[in-house]
């Protein structure tokens, strides 16, 4: 894995921000990985920093691992097409979301709700899973240093140009 932070291409940014499902992983000092789902994401205008928003009470172990090691892997998946992209980084930090980020999250979540409903997941279930307490919200940001395709098939896992 290259250590140089990169700028994500516009196509990757568009896909990441399109409102698919988001799963975030990190690992602790004993190489134990953990996972939690993200509620939304945002890429910096320069394309070099990605922010993922999560409900802190749902991901204690993840936040602890991020604090301990800074490692992160995030997969973004489009529920209907199964198109999936994974980003990795090693400088992840958790912080309070800015007021502007809080304002924009509902629109991001609405896209996720729509996509899951389009894929046949019952709406009440989607709304239950995506509900959160604003006071519980946490942002995890990182600089992507590698990207991989994870769309199911023999090409899954192949490295992509950022």
């Amino acid at each position: 894995m290259t250590r140089n932070a990169a700028r994500l291409s516009q196509a990757h940014v568009a896909f990441i921000e399109s409102g698919g499902t988001i799963y975030v992983a990190s690992r602790d000092g004993a190489l134990r990985a953990t996972v939690a789902y993200g509620l939304g994401c945002r890429v910096s205008p320069q394309g070099d920093r990605v922010a993922i928003y999560l409900a802190a009470s749902c991901c204690g172990a993840l936040l602890a691992s991020i604090r301990e090691t800074g490692t992160i892997a995030v997969c973004f998946s489009e529920p209907r097409s199964h198109r999936t992209l994974q980003l990795k980084g090693n400088d992840a930090v958790a912080r309070e979301p800015a007021a502007e980020e809080r304002t924009k999250l509902p629109a991001c979540l609405a896209r996720l709700v729509q996509k899951l409903c389009d894929a046949g997941v019952p709406e009440d279930l989607v709304r239950a899973v995506t509900s959160y307490d604003p006071a519980d919200l946490v942002a995890v940001t990182f600089s992507p240093i590698a990207a991989f395709s994870q769309t199911p098939g023999p090409q899954a896992g192949s490295r992509l140009n950022i």
Partner: protein, 457 residues
Amino acid sequence: MTALARPSLISIDAIRSCLEGVNPAAIATCSADGTPNVTLLSQVHYLDADHVALSYQFFNKTRENILANPLATVQVIDPVTGAVYRLSLRYLRTETSGALFERMKAKLAGIASHTGMQGVFRLLGADVYRILEIEAVPSRRLPEPVARRSLLSAARLSCEGLAACTDLSQLLDRLLSDLEARFGIDHAMVLMLDEDGQRLYTVASHGYEASGVGSEIPMGQGVIGVAARECTPIRITHMTSDYAYNRAIRAGIDQLGLAGALETEIPLPGLPAPHSQLAVPIMAAKRLVGILFVESLDDLRFGYDDEDALSVIATQLGMMIQLFHAGAAGEESAGSATRRALMQGAAVTIRHYAIDHSVFIDQDYLIKGVAGAIFWRLVRDYVESDRTDFTNRELRLDPSIRLPEISENLEARLVLLQRRLVERCPFLRIEKTGRGRFRLDVRRPIKLLEMAEGAGR
């Protein structure tokens, strides 16, 4: 995370509804150099109280990681309540054949079709993991819906009903009516393993236009054949063409036309496009006796609990079948009374082909194999010496029928023959007259025609 060493407080048995593959799970692993990886996972399969198996479909980073570092975390979601659980796991081994592999392969076929991934999802292995801990992730949950029925109560009452049956025919009828009344299962059939262990034949069914009694399916074919070969339940939760058992073959035979040849195939009953299918082996003293098969037009009709309930019933069935077989030693042996019933109508010709014991009533196929041999023996005795009353025992000892000593099949073959006669030949009936005794009731004059070995149809 010292909790990894502690036994889990939440049992995997209690959250099996999360493991039906309705929503994808996510798995996080870590490479030897400390890079985490996260990906979606189509199938987390319940194996037992301490283990799950994950579908291995592609050699990807997850696979590479768990071979180097066996610790993984999987997040699953209840498709009804939205409850989320995190499973801490340790990879143990990969199975590439056998019961677990076949169960996951069949289920994956349904999941793949449902998610538009048919032809993409292909099971390479079943990765078995030990469950280290299960964590309930705090989340808003929807209320649990009220269950339509208690499967445990239905299983108990059905077992009690089956235990009260005194012969196989009664047992099968009771089973199928209980499946409908107590479990709401509208489409079901029971197949028995034939003498050489190569095929299963339908001995009873419920909910189909034609009963299909006497139809056969080879070992290893489709949901039923695979369940029989592996002696394990096979369950599919969505419609898939991968396991469309033998209708395609059947259509091919029909298209060939086979001019001049008389049909000796009975169509297998079954829904043309089942969304849920479950085949449960019926075992007796560790030997496969047959398969209980149920299906539905609804997705996700049969879950882990249904599989457990029907497995309990299949165990009871197996015990009863074994009991009837063991009790056969006490069958009454007398019985050569004759009785000519009132004859009506023109004579029919019954032809018997020695090569496969197939029997035709005029031009219509009736039965073949062991049941055909039994039938031929009965009608021959009837024509030659006016006999109408017979015993199971004499059939068991008859070298021309060639029943293996250990087989429970005589009863099943008699039930099959009896039911085929009801459907195809109403003027010939087999009626039970006592324990291990029955009567051949003939209502039309019959003529017998023996076709020698080598005689073509």
